[in-house]
């Protein structure tokens, strides 16, 4: 496979950049990586716009702008898009771009497979969006979790849910193929000297993510298949009346659903763990401990899924509570790795570093509230309230998305050869940090005051009014922040302030080649004698 070379196609010329058509068919991992990141970000804009509409509806009590049905579709598509079509694929994009560079390989192991998994993703994305715009009464409106019986044909007629299911199946295929590609690349294509214990932390985290994907996605596909069979072929597996059991779906869904949330965060643990040492001008503190923590999180996260089902009363609470609480420990280890890496450093607050710090500040709150949800009794109260909504936005938006911005500001110069603006970057960071906390802190309060999630409307006078208003204002600040960011990208691409090969004094191999890297990635590989080959080249005296 990989050894069949076809030399007929022309290589992209680094200066002017290749034509659109070429970009869409080129199997160069750097190209595919950028395709992933750009499409994922577009999905972010779409999902975010949907969120803005929800916030408009929720700004004041009583229904104003959308019908119940439309609102249900809004959060269904918002959730699906953000999780399966934005954050995870963005991480895949980074992985595609960075892993071959970081392990010193000329490309991913299976370039054509790589391109095909990208198109599986796009196909799935299109189906999900179609599911959202299907004719009135037909659109998918069963939540991103799509529990039966609600998602069965009886209660969700129309093609929307079917499109949604098929879309997700395509996304599953895309993820599995991509996982295979990543693992093969990392295990078989590392450059000489790049031992497993010298792999950059981002790559390591993607290895665990890939394994989690291979383990968790297929069972979910099974659950979705049974759902589709139930909808269209008269299947009865989830039909209680016929002796079926709807909670089987919940088990299969969350067996993916929970590992998925670590699939969403681990890549960005990796990202900020690359960034923090570079900007503290220190080596990473406790590399080995960090790897063990990552592996532990990977293992534990396949055994906690039913903490989403405490209120169903059909599961073994102590087991799942224990596993869930334990995950706090390895995650904590990472926090202390980050602190240790800043400790005694000479911290340079460039924009990527700012976003990494923001990540820590926000994610910590998401984390400790998660620990509260891990107590079954507390979850009886908090489940399906805005407390949970706040929890997971603190982890996914305050965490993953801040990580995404950190990654963009950090690697954009490598990918394009031009810098983003430091000034605008700081503005975006400040607005995102403030806007984010303004949006989601009040949602903890809402949850405690008893506002359930997935409510198109709420009675006034129950203490929900003010927090919702504040939350909506914050959401618009977020919208502005994202718009400013788009302006920054656009301006920078036009001004083309050259970045040079290594604007940050980076550590891992990608900083040892040109920006953007040549077609085959490396003209010559530096010898790899430690975690920081690029750094070693500048500071031979410090090589361990």
């Amino acid at each position: 496979m990989t050894t069949i070379l076809d030399r007929r196609r022309q290589a992209p010329s680094p200066r002017r950049g290749p034509g659109v058509v070429h970009r869409l068919v080129s199997t160069d991992h750097k190209n595919i990586g950028i395709l992933y990141c750009v499409s994922a970000f577009v999905f972010f804009l779409v999902g975010g716009s949907l969120a803005e509409v929800m916030r408009l509806e929720l700004m004041e009590p009583s229904r104003q702008i959308v019908s119940n049905e439309a609102y249900n579709t809004l959060f269904t598509i918002h959730g699906t898009v953000m999780i399966f079509l934005f954050v995870a694929p963005f991480a895949t994009g980074l992985a595609n771009y960075l892993i071959p560079l970081q392990v010193g390989a000329p490309d991913m192991a299976f370039p054509r497979l790589n391109l095909s998994s990208f198109y599986f993703y796009i196909g799935g994305g299109i189906l999900v969006l179609l599911a959202g715009v299907a004719a009135a009464g037909q659109a998918a409106a069963m939540g991103w979790t799509a529990y039966p019986p609600l998602s069965e044909i009886r209660l969700s007629p129309g093609v929307g849910p079917d499109l949604w299911i098929l879309g997700l199946v395509l996304v599953v295929i895309s993820n599995v193929l991509n996982g295979v590609n990543i693992l093969t690349t990392v295990f078989l294509m590392r450059a000489p000297g790049m031992t497993m214990w010298r792999l950059p932390v981002f790559t390591w985290n993607m290895v665990v993510v890939a394994i989690l994907g291979l383990v968790a996605f297929p069972p979910a596909a099974a659950g979705l298949t049974l759902l589709l069979i139930g909808r269209r072929l008269g299947g009865l597996v989830y039909d209680a009346a016929a002796g079926g059991d709807p909670t089987i779906y919940q088990h299969l869904f969350w067996f993916l659903g929970h590992p998925e949330v670590y699939i969403l965060i681990l890549p960005f643990f990796g990202v900020i763990t690359e960034i923090i040492p570079v900007f503290s001008r220190k080596p990473l503190f406790g590399y080995t401990g960090f790897l063990l923590a990552t592996l532990t999180i990977g293992m534990l996260s396949t055994g906690v899924w039913a903490h989403h089902m405490f209120t169903t009363g059909v599961i073994d609470n102590p087991f799942f509570a224990a596993m869930t609480l334990l995950i706090a420990v390895p995650t904590g280890v990472k926090f202390f790795n980050w602190i240790g890496s800043m400790w005694g450093g000479k911290i340079w607050f460039a924009v990527p570093m700012l976003f990494s710090i923001g990540f820590m500040l926000n994610f910590l709150i998401g984390g400790v509230t998660g620990v509260m949800l891990a107590s079954p009794a507390l979850d009886y109260q908090a489940h399906d309230t805005y407390f949970v909504v706040a929890h997971f936005h603190y982890t996914m938006l305050g965490g993953s998305v801040f990580g995404i911005f950190a990654a963009i500001y950090f690697w954009f110069p490598k990918m394009t050869g031009v810098m983003l603006s430091e000034k605008l970057g700081r503005v975006v960071f400040a607005m995102l940090l403030v806007g984010f906390n303004l949006t989601f802190w009040p949602q903890f309060v809402l949850g405690q005051r008893g506002m359930p999630r997935r409510y198109v409307d709420y009675a006034s006078g129950l203490g929900y009014d003010t927090p919702n208003l504040v939350s909506s204002i914050g959401a618009y600040l977020l919208g502005v922040a994202v718009t400013v960011f788009l302006v920054d990208v656009w301006r920078s691409l036009r001004r083309r302030t050259p970045a040079g090969d290594d604007p940050w004094g980076g550590y891992s191999l990608e900083w040892a080649t040109s920006s953007p890297p040549p077609e085959h990635n490396f003209d010559e590989l530096p010898t790899i004698r430690s975690l920081r080959p690029a750094f070693d080249r500048e500071h031979p005296e410090l090589v361990p």
């Binding site: 496979m1 990989t2 991992h29 000329p106 599995v176 383990v215 596909a221 008269g234 009865l236």
Partner: protein, 213 residues
């Protein structure tokens, strides 16, 4: 287009997984022979992941089984003998394919093609068995959850066999194209893995659905 050159793959693989090296070791490495094959490695990863698709279905199956008595429900009598016959067909097909690869290893590609065709014949035989079973078994997909699981498991497996047949067709085509003339059989082997996978999963289904009941 940017694909790893054989030399580079060699260099990457030749280094033992966890050995630090120096520059001259690298240059030495570039002439070392390839060890692990990405195609085989990737295929094995893919199949072990796909195994979990059936894992999920089995989980659902046992979930239902644990809360339904009797199991299978009244009036549902799966045809064990027929399934056993189908199992036999698949087992034999696997052996034939192994035989074919044996020939290929000795450079006898004609043998490879012959035995691949025999394998496919048995595979088609299996699908015929499935078709017969589906049309004659005394319950439908919507009789009861058991029926749904029965048709889902056998159906999804049937689709895999179908895919397997296509894969074998590809194998034939590639061999006619002379892809294996060089003696590099990794592609052929990975495709064979897929067929053996279909066989293995059927064994599981036979065990769970027909033997254990």
């Amino acid at each position: 287009m940017n694909r790893p050159t054989p030399e580079h793959l060699t260099a990457c693989r030749a280094i033992h997984l966890n050995q630090p090296v120096t520059l001259d070791e690298v240059t030495a490495a570039r002439s070392a022979p390839a060890s692990a094959s990405p195609v085989r490695f990737g295929t094995i990863l893919f199949l072990s992941s796909e195994l979990l698709l059936f894992g999920g279905l089995f989980a659902a199956y046992f979930g239902l089984r644990s809360r339904t008595t009797p199991w299978p429900p009244e009036g549902a009598t799966p045809d064990v003998a027929l399934a056993a016959f189908g199992t036999g067909l698949l087992m034999v097909s696997s052996l034939c394919l192994a035989r074919g690869l044996g020939h290929a290893a000795t450079g006898n590609l004609a043998g490879l093609r012959r035995w691949t065709l025999v394998t496919m014949a048995f595979g088609i035989g299996f699908l015929a068995m499935e078709a017969w079973d589906w049309t004659h078994v005394d319950f439908t997909i919507s009789s009861h959850p058991y029926g749904t699981m029965y048709y889902t498991l056998t159906g999804i497996h049937g689709l895999h066999v179908l895919a397997g047949l296509l894969v074998l067709v590809v194998l034939l085509i590639r061999s006619y194209q002379g892809a294996y003339d060089t003696g590099r059989l990794d592609g052929a082997h990975s495709m064979a893995y897929y067929w053996q996978f279909c066989d293995a999963t059927w064994l599981l289904i036979f065990l769970v659905v027909f033997v254990l009941r």
